[in-house]
């Protein structure tokens, strides 16, 4: 039996698959897809044998830089990233949590300068496995479950 695609196939571009359903719109925001003119297909609450339900985003004629795509590592660390040319997957990539996270995470310390000045936040990833961050400015450490996105 022919397997039916849940989201239309992509000729050229990037397909981000196996996004946790709760993270789909965060991924949209982190990649700033709302600012693109490219054709974008977003599917959510799709059936997935691995995850139960999942989200998928396909962006035509867009090939993200590594630092752009790594922005989503905090919310969706285990996505499949497929680079597609002429309807063929020519490359599969993984997202990698970077050593530094800039402008994405809010510092949880109300007395941190970043919450009181118009400025970018900056965190070091001090533990990649447990996902623990440390504010470059006030030095507060933030555990994975405490992370708040800007």
């Amino acid at each position: 039996m022919r397997k039916e695609l849940q989201v239309a196939a992509l000729e050229n571009g990037t397909a981000i698959d196996h996004i946790p359903t709760a993270a789909v719109f965060k991924v949209v925001a982190l990649l700033q897809l709302q600012k693109l003119d490219n054709r974008i297909t977003i599917g959510n609450n799709l059936k997935s044998s691995k995850m139960g339900t999942k989200g998928i985003i396909k962006v035509s004629d867009k090939f993200f830089r590594e630092d752009e795509i790594n922005r989503i590592a905090l919310v969706a660390p285990n996505v499949n990233l497929n680079i597609i040319k002429n309807f063929e997957v020519i490359e599969k990539k993984e997202v990698v949590l970077p050593n530094e996270i800039i402008e994405i995470v809010k510092c949880n310390n109300p007395k941190c300068i970043t919450n009181n000045e118009p400025m970018r936040t900056r965190f070091y990833v001090v533990d990649k496995e447990q996902v623990e961050l440390q504010c470059h400015y006030c030095e507060l450490k933030i555990r994975k479950e405490e992370i708040v996105l800007i």
Partner: protein
Amino acid sequence: MSPKSLVNIGDYDREDIFRILRSASKFKQNPNRDLLKGRVCATLFFEPSTRTRLSFETAVNRLRGRIIGFSDAATSSSTKGESLKDTIMMVSNYADLIIMRHHLEGSARYASEISPVPVINAGDGSNQHPTQTMLDLFTIYETQGTLENLTITIVGDLKYGRAVHSLIQGLSHFSPTFNFVAPEELHIPDKYKAFCDQKQIAYNEYTDFSPESINSADILYMTRVQKERFTDLMEYEKVKNVYVLHNEMLNDSKENLKVLHPLPRVKEISQDVDDNPKAYYFQQAKNGMYTRQAVICDLMGIEMR
């Protein structure tokens, strides 16, 4: 590229610390030198701190530098809503060095990133106060002749005490042994114990201020136990007199022991200790001036002739 600044004691490695200590001891021999003649230093105290400001300003004055600045945010433009960035950019037009204290944590790091002139952190909220640590290290070195392999007993508020946290960091290069003496509510945070473990630094924890913790020490570092730090006031009432040093408690202490305190002292060191030759907190405060002279000249690239 921003100039070299002193924001966090962790910015200084072992060599940096020794360079400052050597320079500070020369300033102690003669603090009056012409090294800052023609230079302007700004002291920006967004949060008042008379003791620290006077120490920095005296350090600059004795080097013949000039000072601009404010001692209270109420007299600065930040009350008009000016951003820290704008204040720093404006002041760096005038001054060759910025010394700042601010109630927000991370403010000095941010200032050091945007300022074209060096920045010295004179305290950013409960985060860092690195010249306090430098003066503590200088005093320990001066009184013990070394920084290596010393036993340091730290008493009082180990949870919120900024000076304590930075001292642990500053001494971590020198294989210390720490005795942490604190009430249950104010014990040393896990992250500093993890830091000691990671650096293979030995430490003991006590809730009672025992003769053992005093008699084994080379340095007894006292801090204030503040009522407002307690969630349970009954607990404060129970412990408020426990972490107080009286003169007779020093009877069996080591000959080389010195008692330090970052000041202000309230009741945690009884006045009868002041005349004991082992009491060294007032000299320690004075050392702050020499250490700050050393840090200022180091950051400005001024060599002592």
